[in-house]
Symmetry: C2
């Protein structure tokens, strides 16, 4: 009888602790991806580029469209590969002519990028639609001109009709290409077990994961890694101590030294880490963050506990049917590999 009472007490205490932890998580701004479809749509939509089914489908085609690169070989998906966590698995992005970008910047994941306050490591673009215009044109990435992109897409059968359905007018512009891609990217959200926890199901996380979450909060990680994106705001980096791999590349943040906080969602899938992709181990990345941003030396136990929590952020990726893209025609500008 005593044993049963004790057991019940432990359960009750454990539930109480979970409920209290959930309150703490909410207090520091951790916010779930809504499970309600309408709420989610409202959250991910852009009033300047309203979502619709045809636009998302067109955006998917364009996201995988290699003819949007000068060479015919590189698509958005090359660096933001949806099969591998929305990233490319290399330190710095490689583009046209096997060129690394000049600042040795790592490709951020496109999954949940909609929840970032700003886009690019220096936060220079406010949303996914403006972001999408950059890599298409950048010389070390897709290296295509606006004019060439529009010519390529306009020359292929079927696209005109898709643009008409998506935008209510069938003229194809560079902005519409980027807008469609942005619309598709807005749908790339990945609800995780942590979201079920935040939505009130305290069984959504194991005891060890809850312990990790507690460490994550008490150590102050949520100063930057918070919100729906568990990241996404601009922050000073490094803040307290120097970043030990600062010599890789020359990126120093925006003009005020501010760097975009990456999302921690699906972080197990997006190595290597940091703006210059210098670190492959999640444990090392957590340790470095403690040092540079919080000025604390995390114990191995604390680091591992945080990593255990981070693993619960692996989300459910949307199912994507690989598109069938239209054929080039006599009027399609030819690829240029140089």
């Amino acid at each position: 009888m005593k044993k049963i009472v004790l057991f019940s007490t432990i359960i009750a205490l454990s539930s109480f602790a979970s409920a209290s932890l959930l309150e703490d998580a909410k207090k520091v701004g951790l916010t779930p991806i809504p499970s309600n479809k309408d709420e989610l749509t409202k959250l991910i939509d852009n009033p300047k580029n309203p979502l619709n089914k045809a636009k998302i489908e067109l955006g998917k085609a364009l996201f995988f469209e290699p003819r949007l690169s000068k060479s015919n070989l590189i698509s958005c998906n090359t660096c933001h590969n949806l099969a591998t966590g929305g990233v490319d698995g290399v330190g710095a992005a490689i583009g046209h002519k096997w060129t690394s970008n000049p600042h040795h910047l790592n490709s951020p994941t496109v999954y949940n990028a909609v929840f970032m306050d700003k886009q690019f490591w220096d936060g220079r673009n406010p949303d996914l639609e403006t972001q999408a215009q950059g890599p298409m044109q950048a010389e070390p990435e897709m290296a295509i001109s606006k004019e060439m992109a529009v010519k390529r897409i306009s020359s292929m059968a079927g696209y005109e009709e898709q643009f008409a359905k998506a935008f209510g007018e069938n003229n194809i512009t560079f902005q519409k290409i980027a807008d469609a891609i942005g619309a598709f990217e807005r749908t790339l959200v990945t609800p995780s077990r942590f979201d079920t926890f935040l939505l009130g199901n305290t069984k959504g996380l194991s005891d060890k994961e809850q312990e990790g979450l507690k460490t994550f909060i008490t150590k102050g990680c949520t100063a930057c890694h918070t919100g729906v994106g568990i990241g996404g705001s601009m922050q000073k980096f490094p803040l307290v101590k120097p970043y030990k791999y600062a010599d890789i590349g020359d990126f120093k943040g925006d003009k005020n030294g501010m760097v975009k906080t990456p999302t921690l969602r699906n972080i197990t899938q997006t190595a290597p880490y940091f703006h210059n992709g210098a670190v492959w181990s999640l444990e090392e990345a957590v340790t470095i963050m403690g040092e540079t941003q919080l000025g604390v030396t995390l114990s191995d136990k604390e680091t591992n506990s945080i990593v255990t929590f981070l693993k619960s952020l692996d989300g459910e990726m949307p199912s994507i049917i690989y598109p069938k893209l239209p054929s080039v025609t006599a009027s399609t500008p030819k690829p240029d590999l140089n």
Copy 2:
């Protein structure tokens, strides 16, 4: 009344002509992709590497797996892009370090490649399984060693279980990697309207397409472009007259000057044409074939008629759900971009 009789007579004559054309097509060896599932499975299977669902699914993952390249950036799908007719849309394949292959060879489509007698332009491999081993290791393609490929795949969670399901044993070898990819590729067949015609539905082709088919047969194109693959055998090229773009690259066929006849299925989607990808226009390609292989100068009308028929070979591509690939681990060998 007279009109009705005349009309019926025309229909009867037309049906008679279609039936006769169908007989001619069969006589020259044109063969449909079976509509019967069991028949098809029997046709595409390899007794040395029997198909099963788990193997096909694993093969799909590996076909899209960029970690099978030295750089982490190139997968089978890079050059054999399933979104763009199973090809890359450039003259000669571009691989590791943006290197073109030394002979300036064009990537053949992987769709319906199972129907080819041999693989590679010089026919040096007998089947898709042995073929798949080549580009992974080739320096200007994926540039990975057998050992590195096995290490990479073995290090990632989930693959071992998938290999166990596919092969009945969970040890991962380079041959099994290629066998799984081959198994997946065997399923990439694209039945077209022409197949329905060959299966007896003479309405499967329009009158103009039937006229084109007739020209295709009477001009002798079916000497090489026949069988289920409408191509796939080794043939002397050029045969009658020199190939006008022979100076692009140095490929001269196998030791006897024999070159694999490419499939004409989905030919509208696989430009540029010929082993060296020299020609973007299907009309020009047909004209050149008439000259080099048949020694005839096709009139514009004949060329256009043949092209009209070729368009009926656009088939239904299988629906492919883009895979979710496992994450790298601490033991996964790092990418090497050099």
